[in-house]
Structures are given as structure tokens and as C-alpha cells.
Amino acid sequence: MHESAANIFINALLANNFVLAMFLGLCPFLGVSGKLETAFPMGVATTFVMLVASLCAYGLNLLLTAFQLEFLRLISYIVIIASSVQLVEMVLKKYSPALFRALGIYLPLITTNCAVLGVALFQTAREYDFVQSMAFSFGGGAGFTLALVLMASVRERLQLSDVPSVAQGTALSLMLAGILSLAFMGFAGIGG
């Protein structure tokens, strides 16, 4: 397709936000967005994994198509993602142990984050070239971080509000997400 990289980035960030419009990455979105100080590093770590996954998926796809092994696509993508997450874990452990401890269990859980596999699958389905793929994954990761930070900010404030106890917890987060999603619908068409 002939979308420009800038448009792809803006769309992935706002109009087709990965969390609020495409429903990718919801488990960490509902799980980690309680506090702002964990939400932002989680978003950055996920964005980094998405970039690596996008890169590897692009290369893998070229290889698989050349050898007509398309039926191995899903397995090879998920193995690459699992390996990338292992790599990121090892790098973080060595160079930033504080961050590694802060993220805790959520780091290996990035493997099962639909957003990471989703980037790889969508860029393959839309037949993006290299630059478009990078813009797409970077925009997607940034959009994920944006949604996470927004959600965390609101939830932190809500802790001081008088929410009926029957609505507390996940039900409240979902309602919040619905309102955020509604707001983001206003960005439609911003990416040309």
C-alpha cells in the first residue's frame, strides 16, 4: 500500500491506537496501569520489544516467502518474540538491575502481549516495506505507552474519589477505557 511512513506513525499512535481502537495489549493495559511509575517503563519496554519484533518479522517474512514456507510463519514469529524478550531481560538485568526489579513479572509477560505479535502479523498482512514497518511498530508502541500513561494517571486520581464499591476494580477500568476509546475516535482521519 502507498501510505507514507509519517501517516502510518500518526495513525498507529492516535486514530488506530493499538489499545483503544485495535484491542491489542489489553491484559497489561488493565493489569499494569494502576500506578504511573510502573506504567511508563512498561510502555517503553514493550515499545522496544515491538521494534525488535517488527525488524525480525520483516526479515523472517522475506526468508519464508523466498522458500515458500509460509505455513511456518506463526511459529517462527512467536519463537522470535520469545527470544527477543529473553534478550531484553538479560540486557536489562546486566545494565539496569533497578528497572529489571521494578518491572518484575511483567517483563516476561511481554511475550504474551498481543500487541507485539499483532505488530508482526499486521505489518505482514498489509505488506508494509521496511520503513513503513518501523514507523508502524514505533507508532504502535508509542500509542500503547500513551494509553497506558493516560489510564494510570486517571486511575491514580480515582483512588481519592468516592467510587461505589460494586464498580471498583476491573469494571471501573473498562468503563474508563471505553471513555478514552470514545475520545480517541475523534482522531479519525488525522493520518490522511
Binding site: 500500500m1 505455513f71 498489509r126 482521519g189
Partner: protein
């Protein structure tokens, strides 16, 4: 006390490799078996879907031949189950009952509101126009975006003029979607009020595909006129 009993045992490398090898073999077998068993049914489904779409945009067609337009400027027939060579564009030639060319159809895609909008449009070489189009796949908003299927003013934009420029390298006038009610030229698509994004996607999809394909098809029309 035997110290070995207290320490947790790590799996020896040989056992790990053996198990992973066994696992890969089992999984590989399952995938290949599934692929082979479903291959014929999937190909048949795809063929039926293509046929239905092409017959819809080229009503006079009774049979279809798949072609690929190579970057070198030639066209060649794609055999059954064959793949498009890299850099080539796929198109369908529809032939009527007497074996004469009834029209050409090709796919186009562009980003709509929610996701990609994929369309199939027909090209009539005799009048250098695009008489019709149909939607192959879309995820637009029901009741708003899907008006492109039924809106009278939108559909009345067709046939679109698709003449080639003097040097035959591109369309003389790019196909473009204009605001609802402001269509003046035969190559403009009248957008649906309230569904601008989806309307623009259809216009862009047709334009991008036609700009790339028609210059390659035009020099080969004689070759396509009779069913080979």
C-alpha cells in the same frame, strides 16, 4: 545424607536436545498435515470468491483468465495455483461466451477508517473507463462506512474516466474523491456525506491500482482480446 538428593536436578543437555527435537518433529508433522489436508479446499474457496467478485464487476463475463503484468511490460498467463512473479501485478481478464474480451478486473487497497479497504474494480478497454467496482473486504463502521456499497450518488460516480496520458505512462487525470455534491469531472468520485474517509479510501484504492496497472495493460490489449 546423599547431597545429590537435596540439590535440584538440572536436565542434562542431551535430554533437552532430544526432547526439543522430538517436539519439533511432532509439531512440524501436525502443521504440514493440516496444510496439505486443507490446501485443496482453501484454493477452491479462493477461486470461488474471485469468480464471484469478477463476475459482479464484469457482468458480461462468462469465464476468467488470470494474468500477471510484468515490470518489463509484457503480460503472461498465471497457471492454476501459480504465484505472481515479484514486481508483477495480477489482473483478471473476463471473456464472454464467444471468447471475446468483456473487461479487465484488478484489486486495489487503501487505508479506510478502521483498517484496509480492499476493492475489485473493472476496466473497459473499449471506452477507457472504469464501469464498476465491488468491495472485497472491509471493516468500516456498519451503517456509515458500508454506505459505499449502496449509496446512490456514490455509485452514480461510475463509470469513471480512466484515459491514459499521451506518453501512456500514467492516467491522464488521477482518480480522486471530491466533497459530496461537488463532482464536475468524469474522473471524480462523489464522496458520501458523513463517510468521507471510507469514500476517499475507495477513490485512492482505484487510483493507486489503475496508475500502476493500466500503463502495463494498454500496450497488450491485442494479445488479450481473444481468449488464449
Amino acid at each position: 545424607m546423599n547431597s545429590e538428593a537435596i540439590l535440584p536436578q538440572t536436565t542434562p543437555a542431551a535430554a533437552m536436545i532430544r526432547t526439543l527435537g522430538l517436539l519439533s518433529a511432532i509439531c512440524g508433522l501436525i502443521i504440514v498435515a493440516a496444510y496439505q489436508l486443507t490446501y485443496d479446499a482453501v484454493q477452491e474457496n479462493k477461486r470461488i470468491a474471485v469468480e464471484r467478485a469478477v463476475f459482479k464487476v464484469i457482468p458480461a463475463a462468462k469465464s476468467i483468465v488470470e494474468y500477471s503484468a510484468l515490470p518489463t511490460g509484457e503480460v503472461e498467463v498465471i497457471g492454476a495455483g501459480g504465484a505472481t512473479p515479484p514486481g508483477a501485478l495480477k489482473f483478471y481478464a473476463g471473456y464472454d461466451a464467444a471468447g471475446r474480451l468483456a473487461g479487465i478486473a484488478a484489486e486495489g487497497a487503501a487505508k479506510g477508517y478502521a483498517d484496509t479497504v480492499r476493492i475489485l474494480f473493472a476496466y473497459d478497454p473499449a471506452t477507457s473507463s472504469i464501469p464498476a467496482y465491488s468491495v472485497v473486504a472491509m471493516r468500516e463502521t456498519p451503517g456509515i462506512g458500508d454506505k459505499i456499497l449502496v449509496d446512490k450518488d456514490f455509485l452514480a460516480s461510475f463509470p469513471l474516466e480512466a484515459k491514459l496520458s499521451a506518453d501512456l505512462k500514467a492516467l491522464a487525470n488521477a482518480i480522486i474523491t471530491v466533497k459530496h455534491g461537488s463532482k464536475t469531472k468524469p474522473w471524480e468520485v462523489d464522496a458520501i456525506s458523513g463517510a468521507t474517509i471510507t469514500s476517499r479510501a475507495v477513490g485512492k484504492a482505484i487510483n493507486d491500482a489503475a496508475q500502476a496497472l493500466l500503463p502495463r495493460v494498454a500496450p497488450n490489449l491485442d494479445k488479450l482480446k481473444e481468449k488464449s
